[in-house]
């Protein structure tokens, strides 16, 4: 039996409390994971500054090189995993087995992580807007600006020696968000999702094998008390959860909460009559990665033709059925938490009682598919004659979308918070309004799927701004010693 210990800044620690991580379909125990206690996390945080100190001893340029090497190792090498080792194929199989995500999607996520690591130099260059990265190490630097050129001191002060993270079980794709942290010489304190210990441990193994000091990374599997201890002990944290989690941490400068994206595609008046041209991007945005990501589209808004659009998307997605996780054509992830799929479907059925809603995928058979140890929800498309029904504001962890009829001039007022908005329009006035809309995070203008990310751009706030504060700094160069 594979055992995965707590990693206390690189030191393995076997807990007396062990959690079994099981295969969602067979019930086979895949590994035992040591469960941390909150006091242990709290005590270990006394070494948080050491994590930054050991990273600062390595120039950022070298750390970026290590990231590239770590990406290759993560994607291709057999790496230590707990008291055993793990090949890339075993990793994908285990991740699929415990999260319910098909294996080919797990492999795709591996490629994505590797891509981010391989392009770390460009990503950091973009996120810092071309800053000399040594400024992050030293805390200050000199930039030359203007004509005639003037030398201006710049200072970026780290707000924390470590970034705490309470990671999810349901979407291995989110790990790309924390990959740029180590090269910025900030340590990692990770609490893995209960069903997805794999990525944090494999990534840590790859980092360490690539030369990153083990003392820079701590991993604490555990329950809610451990998540709370990670958040309490880290001056800056990322947490992944539902709407309630996001609401709880709203306005808290220490915590960046990532939840449902409510990502949308908006069809403008000028393009809606050619809606069939955009069917592929609509389907891809809803269906890819089994609809699990915050960047998956959960709402398609248009001023007319909405019923036809809903029917066309339903014709494409409605027939999709669950396939075994190892099947390369599998498009659906399993719900591995008992009762979760039932709860979601009950919620949808309840919302469908409201007038102005119509279930476009109904004719393709029942959406809730119950298996012995897991459940599936098949793609579901709901047509809404206005933005009023409750279901318009819903997002679920499977390919689900509403197709909402709404006049263009009311869309921005009605869509609510939107992580990714793909607006298909050439209307200049509307484009201006879209650019100015502060409730849209990532804006795509044109026929771009919501799931197509440009990794050189920030996601839900710039992580550099979250970790470093730009501030005024003046100095007498004859006195400066650092």
């Amino acid at each position: 039996m594979l055992h995965i210990p707590i990693s206390r800044w690189g030191e393995p620690y076997k807990s007396m409390d062990l959690d079994k991580v099981v295969h969602f379909a067979s019930g086979e125990v895949m590994c035992e994971v040591s469960r941390a206690n909150a006091g242990l996390v709290e005590r270990d945080m006394r070494h948080a500054q050491r994590a930054r100190d050991v990273l600062r001893e390595i120039p950022i340029k070298e750390l970026i090189g290590m990231m590239k090497k770590a990406g290759e190792l993560y994607a291709n090498a057999e790496l230590p995993c707990g008291d055993g080792t793990q090949t890339p194929d075993q990793f994908a199989r285990m991740q699929s087995a415990t999260t319910g995500l098909p294996e080919h999607m797990c492999k795709f996520n591996m490629e994505k992580n590797n891509f981010v690591l391989a392009n770390m130099d460009n990503i950091l260059d973009s996120l810092t807007r071309g800053l000399d990265l040594n400024c992050l190490s030293r805390g200050y630097g000199i930039e030359t600006r203007g004509n005639p050129p003037v030398q201006i001191p710049v200072s970026y002060q780290a707000q924390t020696p470590v970034l705490g993270m309470v990671l999810p079980s349901n979407s291995p794709g989110v790990h790309t968000l924390w990959l740029p942290i180590v090269p910025m010489q900030i340590g990692l304190v990770l609490k893995p999702g209960p069903q997805e210990p794999w990525t944090p441990y494999r990534m840590a193994s790859a980092f360490i094998k690539a030369g990153v000091p083990a003392q820079a990374i701590a991993i604490y599997p555990g329950l809610g008390d451990v998540g709370a201890a990670v958040l309490a002990g880290s001056p800056r944290s990322l947490i992944f959860g539902g709407t309630a989690t996001v609401e709880q941490y709203k306005g808290n400068p220490r915590v960046q909460a990532h939840g449902p994206g409510f990502s949308k595609i908006l069809l403008g008046e000028d393009k809606v009559d050619q809606w069939e041209k955009y069917l592929d991007i609509m389907v891809d945005s809803v269906l890819m990665n089994s609809g699990r990501g915050c960047i998956n589209c959960s709402g398609i808004w248009a001023p007319r033709h909405t019923k036809k659009i809903a029917e066309a998307i339903a014709d494409r997605m409605g027939p999709v059925e669950p396939l075994p996780p190892e099947d390369p054509k599998a498009a659906l992830a399993a719900f591995t938490v008992p009762g979760q799929a039932d709860g979601v479907w009950k919620d949808i059925e309840n919302d469908l009682k409201q007038s102005g809603t119509w279930h476009a995928t109904e004719k393709f058979g029942p959406r809730l598919v119950k298996k012995e140890r897991c459940d599936y929800l098949r793609p579901t498309v709901i047509h809404c004659t206005s933005p009023e029904p409750n279901i318009v504001k819903k997002e679920y962890m499977f390919p689900f979308c509403t197709v909402v009829e709404c006049p263009q001039d009311q869309m921005l007022a009605k869509i609510g918070g939107t992580l990714v908005c793909s607006a298909i329009t050439e209307d200049k006035k509307w484009q201006r309004q879209l650019l100015d809309a502060t409730h849209i995070d990532r804006l795509n203008i044109g026929a771009l799927p919501t799931i197509k990310l440009n990794w050189l751009q920030p996601h839900e706030g710039n992580i550099v701004d979250f970790l470093f504060r730009a501030r005024a700094f003046q100095f007498d160069k004859d006195m400066m010693k650092v």
């Binding site: 409390d17 206690n37 006091g39 005590r43 006394r46 958040l231």
Partner: protein, 376 residues
């Protein structure tokens, strides 16, 4: 699963003697609470058909002759303890005595109340006998760092200290506010309140009060030791030799962590399990390699049983998991077969405690997801 008892397995005659003593005690307590002149109004009314919460169709004084016969009562419902009049719980024989009331829960709604005359003193005097003198020396002063207000703990720990000849220094902690902070998600306030409590404990420890013993909860012990460590010291260096720990769930992993990383070999930790209804179940200090915490109720005054999850009339075999069922049998309170909000493993009788124990106590699985536990 292991069924090793902490102090060696009890001999059969020891177990038999303890059972006989328990049966005799049951008869005495039933006679007391159901005595028409001096008994307890709640129970007398139940027999007389005048209690709207409970009607008994048998005469306990005639039909209950042993602990096993308590099954006739069904299960005590703790909701009966919400609201007044509280005098219905006081045996008529005690109506002239000063009465304490202790509450549990109460973050929202009406809390459950238990009336007490001297039980908390008796329980803690009995518990006192289980503490090793080497680490809890008589005459030492104590620090009480735990829930106060209407909880029993504050007065009980203070009495324990006084009974052992010491003076008790107390820090105020309101667990109901802690629960509210958690429910509201005000984690920064929670942290600040915790710091506020630890500040007070640090002040007491720094004031030359010659404190050698303390009561605290697992979370507060974590916080206090972490603070001491930040300030370059330890509980042992502060002169503490014995920690009586309880109030919330304790796992073997936690106690191992506390011993290995905070307490060291010079500080003894005595884990306890209990509540306002039952009193206090003691355990010896857990030891490597398994750090098993094995609790024994203060029989015959209280009995902790581990019963089948699906059939509460059936004890599980030793070493198996089940739900904890408590029975309290004192002259002040009769609580038959109360289903606790915990589950655990049934343990063999030990030579020190020749009756069943319970280990691996954790929140009952059916409630675990919905209950805020272990908050202070």
């Amino acid at each position: 699963m292991s069924t090793t008892a902490t102090a060696g397995t009890a001999a059969a005659d020891q177990v038999k003697q303890a059972q006989d003593k328990l049966d005799a005690h049951v008869r005495e307590i039933i006679n007391w609470h159901f005595d028409p002149d001096n008994g307890t109004p709640f129970w007398l009314d139940a027999v007389a058909g005048k209690n709207p919460l409970l009607k008994l169709d048998f005469d306990p004084r005639k039909e209950v002759k042993s602990f096993a016969d308590l099954k006739k009562f069904g299960h005590f419902e703790d909701d009966w303890l919400r609201g007044g009049p509280l005098r219905r719980w006081v045996p008529k024989a005690f109506h002239q005595k000063p009465i304490y009331v202790f509450e549990t829960g109460g973050t929202t709604g009406i809390p459950k109340s238990r009336v007490v005359v001297e039980d908390h003193w008796t329980d803690y005097e009995m518990f006192s006998d289980t503490l090793p003198e080497k680490y809890f020396p008589k005459g030492s002063n104590w620090l009480m760092l735990g829930p106060s207000g209407p909880r029993r703990l504050r007065l009980a720990v203070e009495h324990l200290c006084q009974y052992r000849g010491g003076i008790c220094f107390c820090v105020d902690l309101d667990p109901r506010w802690v629960v509210k902070l958690i429910k509201k998600g005000w984690m920064e306030h929670l942290k600040a309140y915790q710091e506020h409590c630890i500040d007070q404990a640090m002040t007491v420890l720094s004031a030359s009060h010659d404190i050698k013993c303390m009561f605290t909860t697992p979370k507060l012990l974590d916080s206090l030791c972490t603070r001491l460590e930040k300030e370059g010291t330890t509980l042992a260096k502060q002169g503490i030799t014995g920690v009586f720990c309880g109030g919330t769930e304790m796992t073997s992993q936690w106690i191992r962590f506390a011993i290995e990383e905070f307490l060291g070999k010079d500080v003894y930790i005595a884990p306890t399990y209990g509540n306002t209804l039952m009193g206090l179940a003691a355990a010896d200090q857990p030891v490597p390699p398994d750090y098993k915490i094995c609790y024994y109720a203060p029989q015959p005054r209280a009995v902790a049983e581990v019963v089948d999850f699906d059939n509460y009339d059936q004890l599980v075999p030793h070493g198996q998991e089940g739900r904890v069922m408590l029975t309290t049998l004192t002259k002040e309170l009769f609580v038959p077969r109360f289903m606790e909000r915990d589950e655990g493993l049934r343990e063999l009788p030990s030579s020190k405690y020749p009756w069943d124990g319970v280990s691996g106590v954790k929140p009952f699985r059916a409630f675990a997801a919905t209950t805020t536990v272990g908050v202070y």
